[in-house]
């Protein structure tokens, strides 16, 4: 790991997100944070610390919230996604997102859920769709469980399966970066393990940023960790270092369980 060359895939520079007057994240000069290609970066911190707010800034999901205002830059391969003229739709095609609550599209079949991102932008070629769906479902470790019932409604799946379905759905459009907002928070331990294994296998092709309030999870799967507290990014570093030799006393207090 020390000898491996690190390649910056995304980077936030002095990023501040405000909701009206209130700063959601970016106190203390804004968040400046590198996200390395094909690594897993974990964002940890107590509830309300701004980690999710930061994550949502990485693919312009705040555009939907009228009162949210983003300052600073987010670079994707060196280009600012907040620059004038950048289409957020194209950004989101490269930077996908998986949410805390498994949200399969309730009216669509399993197949159509996974194919949604392609079908709805006009891909009609059935062979191509079939291939993409199978590939995504295999990557999400769901193929064997659903291959015989692809046409049944996605709502028939369990919570853990639905979450893997949403990961498959996100992967099907071929994103470079996958943002995950507490993807295992509503799942049982077995489903959680399945998803963690999945993330580890995905990072060969995809850069992953995961928000988690579970420190063990961050320690288990991530290469880098950023610790957020009260809207401020306190510390960032290789996961091992952050958990064993934290530089900031607040980080140490948090990871040793003194608050949070």
């Amino acid at each position: 790991m020390v000898t491996e060359a690190l390649d910056v895939h995304m980077e936030s520079r002095r990023l501040v997100v405000r909701y009206g007057q209130r700063v959601g994240v970016g106190l203390g000069g804004g968040v400046t944070l590198p996200i390395y290609r094909h690594k897993i970066t974990a964002l940890i911190g107590p509830s309300g610390c701004g980690k999710t707010t930061f994550l949502r800034a990485l693919n312009r999901m705040h555009d939907l919230t009228p009162i949210a205002k983003v300052d600073g830059e987010v670079l994707l391969d060196g280009e600012n996604i907040y620059a004038p003229g950048v289409d957020p739709v194209l950004v989101r095609r490269r930077v996908g997102m998986v949410f805390q609550k498994p949200t399969a599209f309730p009216t669509l079949s399993i197949y159509d859920n996974v194919a949604a991102g392609l079908k709805l932008v006009g891909v009609r070629d059935k062979a191509r769709l079939d291939e993409a769906v199978e590939k995504a479902l295999r990557a999400a470790a769901l193929w064997d469980e659903v291959k015989d019932r692809l046409r049944t409604p996605a709502s028939s799946l369990s919570g853990g399966q639905q979450q893997r379905l949403t990961i498959a759905r996100a992967l099907a459009v071929g994103p470079e970066v996958l943002l995950m907002d507490e993807p295992t928070a509503s799942l049982d331990p077995i489903s959680t393990q399945a998803i963690e294994d999945l993330l580890l296998s995905l990072k060969d092709h995809v850069t992953i940023v995961i928000v988690t309030h579970n420190m063990q999870q961050a320690a288990r799967i991530s290469d880098f960790t950023a610790f957020f507290l009260n809207g401020e990014m306190v510390e960032f570093g290789p996961t091992e270092n952050l958990f064993t030799k934290p530089k900031d006393p607040r980080t140490e207090a948090y990871i040793t369980g003194r608050f949070g």
């Binding site: 989101r92 997102m97 949410f99 599209f105 009216t107």
Partner: protein, 281 residues
């Protein structure tokens, strides 16, 4: 539990029982009115209900028999046309209100739809008279459809806004996170998720407009004969009911009651259909 707590609890139970009784009484009162209308219409009108009532057009006073086929068919045509006119506008307004909450015209749109919702129905007739009857040079089923359409637009806008706001925002975010444009997310993910509510709202708007006579007085105008051409004056059940009710003829009075019964059944059926749709889809 000490004595004081026991007294407080007892009083709470008493108040609870009293409130329950009051609510039940109020419900009963509302039902009673409905029941009275229904029973009275049944008693007065059931004699005029026979197959001829649905299969024959009305006859002049003094002639026995006949029916109100022309009014039943006319109601279905005028109301359906009205719905066709209202749907695109009502849906569009509802979508704008629910999906683009920060759109600058929304405050005006909301004020407009509130005002229109409370507007006396006859004014919609007046509007259709000015906009359709006068330019076209005469009364017509189509002008009646416009009057009912105007009436339905704010109802549809409100119901559409309501059911769309019930769709979890996670569905929108999940769609956008796939790199879909916003209009595509609304069209292909949000509207389908709300479809049962949309169908219900549409049917209720249909039922509401089916019972209106006032907007049709100087638009659809009424017609004693079966008319299928919407460019000609057409009859509808509420219009015929009104005309028969103010006539001096016994036969017509009976048929007016029967018309009321059929109208009641039509609206009840539509509402039932709406409830069924909200469960089925």
């Amino acid at each position: 539990m000490n004595r004081e707590e026991g007294i407080v609890l007892k009083r709470r139970y008493r108040v609870e029982r009293l409130m329950k009784a009051l609510v039940a009484f109020g419900t009963l009162l509302a039902f009673l009115v409905l029941l009275l209308v229904l029973v009275y219409a049944l008693v007065q009108g059931v004699g005029a209900l026979n197959p001829d009532f649905f299969l024959q057009d009305m006859r002049p006073p003094g002639e026995r028999g006949g029916g109100l086929r022309q009014a039943i068919v006319g109601t279905l045509i005028v109301d359906s046309l009205g719905l066709l006119i209202a749907l695109p506008f009502g849906l569009a307004a509802g979508i704008l209100l629910a999906e683009y909450p920060d759109h600058p015209i929304n405050p005006y749109l909301r004020l407009l739809s509130d005002t229109l919702n409370g507007m006396p129905a006859i004014l919609f007739g007046l509007l259709a008279f000015v906009l359709v009857v006068k330019p076209m040079g005469g009364f017509s089923g189509l002008s009646g459809a416009f009057a009912l359409g105007f009436l339905m637009i704010p109802i549809l806008a409100r119901s559409t806004e309501g059911v769309l706001s019930l769709v979890p925002k996670e569905i929108r975010e999940a769609g956008l996170a796939l790199g879909l444009p916003r209009w595509r997310v609304i069209l292909s993910l949000v509207l389908p998720a709300a479809r049962s509510g949309l169908i219900t709202g549409t049917l209720l708007a249909f039922a509401r407009a089916a019972g209106e006579a006032a907007p049709l007085l100087f638009t659809a105008f009424g017609n004693p004969f079966l008319e299928l051409n919407p460019f000609k004056p057409m009859d509808t059940l509420p219009l015929r009911l009104f005309n028969f009710a103010i006539s001096p003829y016994e036969d017509w009075h009976r048929q007016a009651w029967a018309a009321g019964l059929v109208l009641f059944a039509l609206i009840a059926l539509t509402s039932l259909l709406a409830r069924w749709a909200s469960r089925r889809f």
